[in-house]
């Protein structure tokens, strides 16, 4: 009883004053503590925003909606940012791409990469040991049975954690609205790529010849100009190695993710 009274008094007397805006911001944040904003967790970010230290538009995982809400609480105008998703730019699973040695070590891409630059012959291909899958705070990444990381465009919030965890830089941030991607990360010449991967870019320039404005080939690797996403569709069928994928058609082979539903959200004008 006495202790209760003492605690009550202490709580009143030593109460730490909290900026009400900080609490309000914390309320609208997702609470995933993913760290995409660069702060250690949602609490720290809310505090930083409330104190005017951080911009109100750093919560990319929350999307435009969350950013709007945070901006409203702070009474500022949200800087519009195009929503982004992470994309694994490789389709060379263990069936399609060759390995230079058999790996029996710990299931971790970074550890495998330390052994002669990883078991995969391709210097840029996905190792499929799931370091990105384990670090993803949103469960948006799966490893197919043949060993390829695939990221769900529905679940990915764009926090970039996988991008920094991948030792082979095979995960890239791309605009969510862009569905056509060249899924290859090898800058080797075509003849070299053919030796180790059946679904890699061989820099044949056919995509560029089909839709010159949407594709360009640089350093033996094709890339899409996302402004011409619709036009780029024409090259998907033409690609001889099928390394160009339209995610609106579905995910790489072996993935359990369903065809993306969030590819054209209404609020992306």
């Amino acid at each position: 009883m006495l202790a209760g009274i003492a605690l009550g008094v202490a709580a009143k007397k030593f109460a730490v004053e909290v900026d009400p805006r900080e609490l309000a911001i914390l309320e609208v944040l997702s609470g995933a503590n993913c760290g995409a904003c660069g702060y250690p967790g949602c609490g720290a970010y809310a505090k930083a925003v409330a104190s005017g230290e951080a911009s109100a538009s750093l919560c990319t995982p929350g999307g435009a909606e969350t950013i709007q809400k945070v901006a409203r609480i702070m009474g500022v105008v949200a800087e519009s940012s195009e929503p982004q998703v992470a994309v694994v730019v490789c389709q060379g699973d263990n069936r399609k791409a060759k390995n230079k040695y058999r790996y029996f070590g710990i299931v971790d891409c970074q550890a495998a990469q330390r052994l002669a630059d990883g078991p995969k012959t391709c210097p840029g291909g996905c190792l499929g040991l799931g370091t990105c899958m384990r670090i993803c705070p949103f469960g948006a990444i799966e490893i197919t049975p043949d060993g390829l990381a695939v990221i769900s465009r529905d679940k990915c919030t764009g926090c970039r954690k996988c991008v920094s965890a991948c030792p082979r830089s095979v995960i890239r941030m791309e605009p969510l609205a862009a569905t056509v991607h060249v899924l290859c990360n090898s800058h080797d010449k075509g003849a070299v790529v053919r030796k180790y991967c059946s679904i890699g870019c061989v820099a044949c320039h056919i995509c560029h010849k089909t839709v010159p404005e949407a594709f360009h080939v640089e350093n033996f690797l094709a890339a899409v100009n996302h402004e011409f996403n619709e036009e780029a569709l024409a090259a998907v069928e033409k690609c001889p190695t099928k390394c160009i994928r339209d995610f609106a058609d579905g995910y790489p082979e072996g993935s359990t993710f369903h065809s993306p539903t969030k590819t054209r959200p209404e609020w992306v004008a």
Binding site: F104, G105, I106, D108, Q110, A111, R114, A116, D117
Partner: protein, 438 residues
């Protein structure tokens, strides 16, 4: 008599019977020599020859870059056909000088024999560095650096490492039997450079013939031969020091912190060649063994010889190789192909076929403590490995991850087949990365 040793360790089947009785054979020159510019710890050498140039045996083809670096030499006379990245034992393609031998095997002019008692220690160190001498046990640390201890760290003892505790390897054993004078002459040079009086040669007791030869040769010279218990890793620097003189190298420290220098017997022989004869390190003794090769042998090999050439000289492959190891089976490095060249650190080449390997899936830790019992560095391998895999880097460091010598005893003894050394190594890399970041 109880043999000297250290606490921990284990004794895997040593499998030395296949090659221990075989005299060193000279491996003929291959059609192509690939001499990597990085064959030592420290900065790689800088190429100083161009394709098309003719070189002579012993000519410098790569200059040392900095103090902790050594030059690289042509292993025979011939024509340089390329200076480009080639497969390297590390698994990457690294810069190398490619030479087509002309068959004349002609020495460079101006290589002179000197009386080593006329040289000052500094001149000797210079000759050792110019000859590109590195630790021949496999670590390939530049020898002149080891022989240049700072003034504040006085050296009172020199230990020669003739332990050769790795299974299969018999290169040092044969060297001690067949060319002990070279080793002894190297000891005399090092004694003068370091100014030490106490000198020990540690040899595992499973080489009684080598102990006998060395004891006879060193009788009355103040060099003491110490037979050691047969246990892995008896030849690891810190464990050898503990066994012979009872001193413990502090955590993160070097043998020179406790007044010691340790050199491999092969390095001693190379020092003799460098200082007395002015001959650079262009060949070494290498054991080719394992069930995957027809006739195991000890070969005298020119640096840069492709491993496939060594195998061809040993009767060829006995079946498809499933695992190729450069060095010993406990601490050696698995190789991607036999096209990799022999380097200054190649003490052995081991070949295993699919049926010789046991591969079992990893299971959960049984908490049996075998790894703890065998750890020669007195660490808790299972704990450090678990922290490393959880990426709890600070805890891994607190448990002494950086003191791990990566000898492989824990992984070897683990009944659950946990890749402990790989996990700890991974943790060590993360700790170093974090320290660099600050």
């Amino acid at each position: 008599m109880k043999l000297k040793t250290f606490a921990g360790g284990l004794h895997p089947p040593d499998n030395k019977q296949w090659s221990a009785h075989k005299a060193i054979e000279v491996c003929p020159l291959p059609a192509l020599l690939v001499i990597p510019l990085s064959q030592h710890i420290g900065l790689p050498a800088e190429p100083c020859v161009k394709p098309g140039e003719r070189v002579k045996k012993g000519q410098t083809v790569g200059r040392a870059k900095g103090f902790v670096s050594v030059p690289v030499h042509a292993s025979t006379s011939g024509e340089v056909v390329a200076v480009e990245p080639r497969p390297h034992p590390s698994g990457r393609d690294l810069p190398a000088v490619v030479i087509v031998p002309d068959g004349a095997d002609e020495w460079l002019d101006g290589i002179e024999t000197v009386r080593c008692d006329e040289l000052t220690p500094d001149q000797m160190r210079e000759r050792i560095r110019d000859a590109g001498v590195v630790g021949m046990g496999g670590a390939t640390f530049p020898t002149h650096v080891k022989l240049s201890p700072p003034v504040e760290k006085p050296i009172d003892t020199l230990i020669l490492n003739g332990v050769e505790c790795e299974p299969y390897l018999t290169a040092d054993h044969r060297l001690m039997l067949e060319e002990p004078q070279r080793i002894f002459a190297g000891i005399v040079v090092m004694r003068k450079i370091l100014g030490v009086s106490r000198i020990f040669v540690g040899i595992e007791a499973n080489k009684p013939d080598a102990i006998e030869v060395m004891t006879k040769l060193c009788a009355g010279t103040g060099v003491e031969i110490v037979p050691l218990a047969v246990k892995f890793p008896q030849g690891a620097e810190k464990q050898l020091i503990k066994a012979i003189v009872g001193r413990e190298v502090p955590s993160g420290g070097l043998p020179m912190d406790v007044g010691l220098v340790v050199q491999n017997v092969g390095t001693a022989a190379a020092i003799q060649d460098a200082v007395t004869f002015g001959r650079p390190l262009i060949e070494r003794i290498c054991t080719v063994a394992g069930p995957g090769v027809v006739e195991p042998k000890n070969l005298r090999v020119r640096i840069g010889t492709p491993l496939s050439h060594l195998v061809a000289h040993c009767g060829g492959l006995a079946g498809d190789p499933a695992k190729i190891i450069m060095g010993g089976p406990m601490m050696g490095m698995a190789q991607l192909s036999l096209e990799v060249p022999t380097t200054r650190g190649t003490s052995g080449l081991l070949l295993f076929r699919e049926e010789d390997l046991t591969l079992a899936p990893e299971g959960p830790c049984l908490r049996c403590g075998r790894c703890v019992r065998v750890c020669p560095a007195h660490l808790l391998p299972t704990t450090i490995a678990a922290y490393a895999r959880l990426e709890r880097i600070d805890e891994a460091a607190d448990y002494g991850a950086m003191d791990c010598i990566e000898c492989g005893c824990c992984t070897y003894s683990c009944p659950a087949e946990i890749p402990l050394v790989q996990s700890i190594r991974s943790g060590k890399a993360a700790i170093l990365a974090k320290r660099r970041k600050g």
